[in-house]
């Protein structure tokens, strides 16, 4: 298949998306689905413009911008904390086969626990405040990074470990020069999963703990039957997920370039 045809399919693929939007437009405007549940695309777009303060009317609206900012901030702060502690703890556990043998079964047990199940516990310990939500976001998102780091360290080629011993490398040098570079693909994959979890937990945390953000905004919009505001929030959340994922994919490609032949 030559470039020309690939370009054509890209174009057609956009067309499919447009067709889906058109279907939405027809379904909502013709009243196939009640507008209480499914607002028209133009109403959603208007809510987005107003919420983001782009409509030009100036004085009213502009709330969504602040909510988006709060949610993205929570997500990124929690994600950075999770990555930092995940890699540190993971390296500490992964570097020694002894520690691994004692601790790893417990980690495997905790892994399937939903991060949001920690919210009630965190509420009763810390109370309803932004720090509590941040803690749960960081804790929930830390898990994939931690386990990926442990796995990456466990999978270091045994001969490399022998070389390190022959060179009498200190443990810190071993972690820095062999363990971490070797675990890098695993860590980055874990961090990507962590970002998704961070967004989800941030939204759930805002819903439960009434912290200002998109999670709370869409819940309130649904309760007040403001479907177009609800859809605007969902669109923004999808956009956050899309952009953060895409950015991380680019970063991953750059960081791992040295590994490819």
């Amino acid at each position: 298949m030559n470039d020309n045809r690939i370009g054509l399919y890209r174009f057609g693929s956009l067309g499919v998306l447009l067709a889906l939007v058109a279907l939405w437009w027809v379904a909502s405007n013709a009243g196939w689905v009640s507008r209480v549940f499914l607002p028209t695309p133009q109403a959603t777009f208007a809510s987005l413009l107003e919420g983001l303060n782009l409509s030009g009317s100036g004085d009213s609206g502009g709330e969504l911008l602040g909510f988006t900012h709060a949610t993205v901030g929570r997500m990124i702060e929690g994600w950075l904390l999770a990555s930092l502690f995940g890699v540190l703890l993971g390296a500490a556990i992964g570097v020694s086969p002894q520690v691994r043998a004692w601790v790893q079964p417990t980690l495997e047990f905790i892994r399937p626990l939903p991060a949001s199940a920690l919210l009630p516990l965190a509420i009763s310990i810390f109370g309803l405040n932004p720090g509590m939500v941040l803690f749960v976001v960081a804790f929930g998102a830390m898990w994939p990074v931690l386990l990926a780091t442990v796995h990456g360290f466990a999978a270091v080629e045994p001969r490399l470990a022998e070389v390190a011993r022959c060179l009498q490398m200190s443990r810190a040098a071993y972690i820095w020069k062999m363990g971490l570079p070797n675990a890098m693909p695993d860590i980055l994959a874990g961090m990507r999963l962590a970002l998704t979890i961070a967004l989800i937990v941030a939204v759930v945390g805002e819903m439960i703990a009434s912290q200002s953000g998109l999670g709370q905004a869409i819940l309130l919009a649904a309760r007040a039957f403001r479907a177009s505001d609800l859809f605007a929030g969902i669109v923004l959340l999808g956009l956050i997920g899309f952009v953060s994922n895409a950015l991380l994919a680019v970063a991953e490609q750059r960081l791992l370039r040295w590994q490819r032949p």
């Binding site: 693929s13 417990t106 199940a117 009630p120 759930v204 439960i208 997920g241």
Partner: protein, 256 residues
């Protein structure tokens, strides 16, 4: 020899027991100082037995597992069907790619308020969100699996003049069974996490809600009992799926 085996069998339990012991000590000290936010694990165990005896444990667990299973069923059937189509036809895959890239990153929890609006509380809202959340990973993994089906198998089907339906059911689906179970294992994990999350955030049913209510009525012992039980259920379901997946792989002659 037996000593070594006993040691290896006991070793995984040491760390959690130390953790639980430390928590017991800390919670008792906090309780002595007049805090009612935490309860020692021993009290949680008692609350757990109470919930198991009066049946509330089993009703809530049944609701969560049943809804997660139904949602997964719906999400998996749709995801597998579309995955097979997109895997077999490169043209369809390319045409659908932008829509999938745009829709997939929408966090499943963002749909909680929408499902609430459309379905009210109960089984249907939770089922819809679980189906949405499990649809995407299954779609992507099945599509990748179908694209890796031995091309000669597809040639054979063409030579035999099989219809599209026969090709899907007689050639493609059997060929991807081992990978399908890997995808299903992931789907089960996602379904359970999403089901509990929906219950914690909105739906007044199931394990997540029971835990929320225990917290809100200042019953930390019961809340911890639920947390531990959710962990055990999650672990058991995941371990069961792993065993199933390995058994299927072995049966199909794929080293796993």
């Amino acid at each position: 020899m037996t000593d070594g085996r006993l040691f290896r069998w006991l070793r995984p339990w040491v760390f959690p027991i130390v953790l639980i012991g430390a928590f017991e000590w800390y919670a008792r000290r906090a309780a002595a100082l007049g805090s009612d936010a935490l309860a020692p694990p021993s009290a949680a165990a008692k609350a757990f037995v109470g919930a198991a005896m009066d049946g509330s444990l089993w009703t809530a667990t049944g609701f969560t597992l049943g809804t997660a299973a139904l949602g997964l069923l719906l999400g998996a059937v749709l995801g597998i069907a579309l995955g097979v189509v997109l895997g077999l036809s490169r043209r369809a895959a390319q045409l659908g790619s932008v829509s999938i890239e745009v829709l997939r990153p929408v966090p499943s929890v963002a749909l909680i308020p929408l499902a609430m609006l459309g379905f009210g509380f109960g089984v249907r809202m939770e089922l819809a969100i679980v189906a949405f959340a499990t649809f995407w990973p299954l779609l992507v993994l099945v599509q990748a699996a179908v694209q890796q089906v031995e091309p000669r198998l597809l040639e054979v089907s063409r030579v035999l003049g099989l219809s599209a339906r026969e090709r899907a059911f007689k050639i493609v689906l059997p060929a991807i069974v081992p990978r399908l179970f890997v995808a299903l294992r992931l789907g089960v994990a996602v379904a359970l996490v999403v089901a509990v999350t929906v219950e914690i955030a909105a739906n007044p049913n199931g394990m997540g809600y029971a835990m929320m209510i225990a917290q809100q009525s200042f019953d930390p012992a019961l809340m911890l009992a639920w947390l531990g039980w959710i962990g055990v259920v999650g672990f058991a379901v995941n371990a069961g799926m792993l065993m199933l997946q390995r058994a299927v792989s072995r049966r199909m002659g794929v080293p796993s």
